[in-house]
């Protein structure tokens, strides 16, 4: 479980996150949603430790993560996997080397063992015969899947995904969503997904947190959204006239 308690973060006197508290449970896909510029990426990066919180506490199970000394934080990171918006695959490495990278850096495994794990991870994300290709030779969806394979290579306890299906067609986006959802349940990982894709919210949002102007505005499950009367949430989720009609029908 990851627990954020009264997190605030500002950049050059601009308050981006304001007193956010939340709990993200293991085995569930926890979604952070919000408009562009609402602060959801900053929140995700603060939770994962890429930004230092100005105030507040971030707990990873029983460990106060944001106050850990450098060395302990570093060893904690081996239990964290992250999928970046653009994939963030290493250009200089092949798919195999990308997925193998954390294994090479942190395990004393021999090549055959690492290779076996790489095969397993790639198979898990439904990728075959791409080991020797470079990221630039892959489609966006394939890059995301390699990113997931790399993120799960070390059997993480915590998985962070920053807009995993941005730039993907709806079918591929659903495949990626399903993959994240399956992996979360299969390995009982605490997964936090940052998205503004409403398909994702409805598909895999076991728990959804809506961020508005740097504050936690609303929290609930994907089903709860249909019945919520929170104006800002409804404006964000049901922004088109068609979805507004859908909401009206649901509430009938």
């Amino acid at each position: 479980m990851i627990r954020a308690s009264h997190i605030s973060k500002s950049f050059a006197n601009t308050l981006v996150l304001h007193d956010i508290s939340a709990e993200f449970e293991p085995g569930k896909t926890n979604l952070i949603i919000g408009a562009s510029g609402s602060g959801k990426t900053v929140l995700l990066k603060t939770l994962v430790g890429l930004h230092e919180a100005d105030m507040g506490e971030i707990w990873y199970d029983d460990t106060l993560f944001n106050r850990l000394p450098f060395d302990r934080k570093k060893s904690m990171r081996k239990r964290i996997g992250m999928l970046f918006q653009g994939g963030a695959l290493f250009d200089f490495a092949t798919v195999e080397e990308n997925v193998m990278f954390p294994l090479t850096m942190f395990t004393g495994q021999r090549y055959a063992e690492k290779r076996e794990r790489v095969d397993f991870c790639l198979k898990r994300v439904n990728l075959v015969n791409v080991e020797k290709r470079y990221p630039a030779e892959l489609s966006g969806g394939m890059q995301k899947r390699v990113g997931i394979a790399r993120a799960i290579a070390l059997n993480p306890s915590y998985l962070f995904c920053d807009e995993p299906n941005s730039g993907l067609d709806p079918n591929t986006a659903i495949l990626i969503d399903d993959l994240i959802h399956e992996i979360t349940q299969e390995y009982h990982i605490t997964t936090i997904v940052n998205t503004h894709d409403m398909n994702s919210v409805m598909e895999i949002g076991d728990k959804v947190m809506f961020i508005h102007q740097g504050r936690k505005w609303w929290e609930g499950s994907n089903r709860d959204i249909l019945y919520s009367d929170n104006r800002e949430l409804n404006d964000f989720v049901f922004s088109s006239s068609m979805t507004k009609q859908f909401k009206a029908l649901s509430n009938r």
Partner: protein, 247 residues
């Protein structure tokens, strides 16, 4: 101005502290070191050799045209070629050329990795990205480039010999006599030490600018330009200081 300069120096020192820590895995470091030696050192051999051969030839020609007095022995053409190559060209000028070649390469490579979140990905995994990416570059260039200086020196003298042989401005034996005249071997050490220092400057400063790039591809370009300018200025200042200290 002074405040921002101090801020940049502070950030540079913090980065260097991260860079000069024990690598997460030594075997990976050695492998990276070989890769960087090839990329930053071996791949610069051709450009250094081409420039040095022409500069050596030009120095010999210019020296010969300027030594018109019958009281100055012609062998001084060789002497001047040797001294110019060893004291300044093969270290300082070659370093300035390398600042353009490998400095921009490093800044844009690391800058691109920064803006595409590859560095963040490493940090998330618990890898010391500064150490992994920058230390092999610094070590490779600092150790290998002094040999590039040596190569430049030898090739430059060869260029001088070539032009002397082809044009007959002086005899080859006069040229070789000049090369051996009052030869001070510690000049070579001085020049190699300078080159090692310059290589450290080039790799660490351009890595710093790349590592702190932000925004998009335009910013990577800007970082790269800033890196080259900063490298050139620091090389010139370092040259002055080292010359005062070592000669």
């Amino acid at each position: 101005m002074l405040k921002s300069l101090l801020e940049v120096c502070g950030r540079y020192l913090i980065l260097m502290r991260k860079v000069f820590s024990r690598p997460d895995r030594m075997s990976v470091f050695w492998r990276q070191l070989l890769v960087e030696t090839e990329k930053l050192g071996m791949n610069s051999i051709a450009i250094v050799a081409i420039i040095s051969i022409f500069i050596g030839a030009v120095i010999a020609l210019q020296a010969s045209f300027n030594l018109e007095s019958p009281f100055i022995p012609k062998m001084y053409v060789g002497y001047m070629t040797r001294e110019t190559m060893v004291l300044e060209f093969s270290s300082t000028m070659v370093a300035l050329i390398l600042a353009g070649k490998i400095g921009s390469n490093i800044a844009s490579e690391i800058g691109s990795m920064r803006i595409t979140e590859q560095i963040d990905a490493m940090e998330i995994m618990g890898v010391n990205s500064a150490n992994y990416l920058i230390l092999p570059k610094i070590v490779a260039a600092t150790v290998f480039n002094p040999f590039l200086m040596l190569l430049s020196f030898i090739v430059g003298l060869f260029g001088g010999w070539l032009i002397v042989s082809l044009t007959g401005i002086i005899t080859v034996s006069q040229y070789f006599d000049g090369l051996q005249l009052e030869f001070k071997p510690h000049y070579i050490i001085y020049s190699m030490v300078k080159m090692a220092a310059f290589s450290f400057v080039i790799t660490s400063v351009s890595s710093f600018f790349g590592y702190h790039a932000y925004g998009g591809s335009l910013d990577v370009g800007r970082s790269s330009t800033r890196a080259i300018v900063a490298c050139c200025v620091i090389i010139l200042i370092t040259n002055l200081v080292l010359t005062q200290l070592l000669l």
